[in-house]
Amino acid sequence: MTPKYLRLATVAVALLVFFAIIPLAFSASPYVLNVLTNALILSVIASGVWLTFAIGRINIAQGAFAMIGGYATAILSTRYGVSFWLCLPLSGLVAAAVGVVIGWPVLRLRGVYFSMISLSITEAVRLAFLNGGEFTRGASGIINIPRPDAISIFGITLVPEFDGTSPLPYYYLAVLILTLTLLSLWRIANSRLGWTFRSMRMNEELAASIGVNVAKYRVIAFAICCFIGGVGGSFFAAFQQNIYPATYTVNDSIFAMLYCFLGGLDYIAGPMVGAFLLVISFELLHPLQQYQPLIYALLMIGFMLWLPNGILSLPLFERWMADTAPRPEEGGRAEPAGAVSKVSSTGRSGA
């Protein structure tokens, strides 16, 4: 089987497992479904970050946009009685709009400068909600966020009300959101848009010289990232039915990046693989839960030392990935070679 068909087959099996086999097998176990739902939406949130990696920005702000999405849903639904089904896309749009406003100036920064300011954004947004007065109810947060209601058209119920007796509806919704997210990212990555983003990651000046409006495209990428984060936050708000300024911290932003890295930045499925691996292994290692940050830290360091391209770069997955974009040889950092040749070529022209 060629890698392409192997991947298609894998996707088909995954869809079958997530939509049919898991719900059948675990319908009596709300605990398992809750854990999986958590992993699914964390994958969604991290997938947004993956897209900012694609344009060469290290984004430590995703927690902020999940929080914005969560608060948007909380405020719209508790105060204005807006249905969850409207809140979900609206929250994504609110997060994307904030992303555009903040992103426009901030995305001009590159490398460490961008990551420093994005980390600050996570803090700033937390403070903004903490100081939001009556609007956000400060530290006491917003509670009793309603569950998603039924969707009916002409008296026919398409989606029943989420009554809270079973986590299954949430689970299905989460699978659906993740599927749509990955589908969108797959389209972006395999279209011209993805190549434009990649070209910006490799060299923004060069991209501009061939006519790419770099400022516009990086805001597009960032806005999509924020939209995805906002949708994830909106889901969690309705899932947990409450939100506080402490719901998302800098650590959540960092974890979203960690999932991407763990899976591998070169693969669309990377964030999902990373999120599932970490979330599920921590459920299995329940007694170790108090050491979660410590183990995350050791994993992060270990991966950077020994597996910098993520799990999906392991030879085990080579059959799936064989025809994806070419990579330069391992460890081939371009700078030293470039610098040496710079010295030698000036030497030559001076001679």
Binding site: I58, Y113, N251, A297, M304, R333, P336, A339
Partner: protein, 285 residues
């Protein structure tokens, strides 16, 4: 009014110590030490344990903190950063490694030190009155100590052989390497000094503000803000950024309630970066 100026000066001097450590490592290694705040936290705890728990003289405890945290920095450089910088094909890798070390220090601190706030009593008693402003003598001492350390660092970088080598590396790594400077040793020294400065800041400030295991991120964020205001990798910029932030805080806390000050500072910085993305003294990319 006088009080605001006094507070701004004190904060600015102490913050300069924090910002200098961060900018030092950045200028030499092109690495942002995300664990800077956690190193500050560690410095505070070392002083707390040596001074309050084991009854050691405060100044010896401070020295202990400087050396301990400096060595942590060296360990990080030798065992982690060196390898990752060699094999990394993307800048992201070293940055994530730096975040990993931050998370490591923080989670270890929770395990070892627990969640309690720890403070160290003021080193000296008494209050200085300047016009209608009050300046506790212990704060004056802390400020003086950090000023001395800043000057010592600047002199070291300016006039000693290793200091000059550090500046050369910051200017142009390849050329310095070609001139036969041992880049590895300079990197180690840079990490030692940068971390030691964070430890010193923590050890000094623990007499003013209590520390807890989770304070690191907030300190790192402050350090990032200062460096962004002043321009990354520029010594004078770090000091400038520190005083800018110190005064902004001093004024903000006087005028606004609680955490609104920081919210405004964040908004201000985003607007500032719109106008001047490389900071006040930063070089254009």
């Amino acid at each position: 009014m006088t009080q605001m100026i006094v507070n701004g000066l004190v904060l600015g001097t102490l913050y300069a110590l924090i910002a200098l450590g961060l900018t030092l490592i950045f200028s030499i290694m092109r690495v942002v030490n995300f664990a800077h705040g956690q190193m500050y936290m560690l410095g505070g705890f070392v002083v707390y344990y040596l001074n309050v728990v084991f009854g050691l003289n405060y100044f010896l405890a401070l020295l202990g903190a400087i050396v301990t945290v400096g060595l942590v920095g060296v360990l990080f450089e030798v065992f982690l950063f060196r390898r990752v910088m060699r094999i990394a094909k993307r800048e992201e890798n070293t940055m994530l490694l730096a975040m990993g070390t931050a998370l490591l220090l923080e989670s270890l601190a929770y395990v070892v030190f627990g969640e309690k706030q720890r403070g160290v009593p003021p080193i000296v008693d008494g209050v200085l009155e300047i016009g209608d402003a009050f300046l506790p003598l212990s704060r004056l001492l802390v400020m003086a100590l950090s000023a001395v350390m800043i000057v010592a660092l600047l002199l070291f970088v300016q006039y000693t052989r290793p200091g000059r080598a550090m500046r050369a590396v910051a200017q142009d790594k390849e050329v310095t390497y070609l001139q036969g400077v041992n880049i590895k040793r300079i990197g180690m020294l840079g990490f030692f000094l940068g971390a030691a400065l964070a430890g010193a800041a923590g050890g000094l400030l623990v007499t003013v503000f209590a520390v807890n295991a989770g304070i690191g991120t907030a300190i790192s964020v402050k350090a990032f803000l200062m460096v962004m205001i002043g321009g990354a990798g520029v010594t004078a910029g770090a000091i400038l950024g520190a005083f800018a932030l110190g005064f902004a805080e001093a004024i903000g806390y006087e005028v606004f309630p609680g955490s609104i000050t920081y919210l405004l500072i964040f908004i201000g910085i985003i607007v500032f970066l719109l106008i001047r993305p490389q900071g006040i003294m930063g070089r254009t990319a």
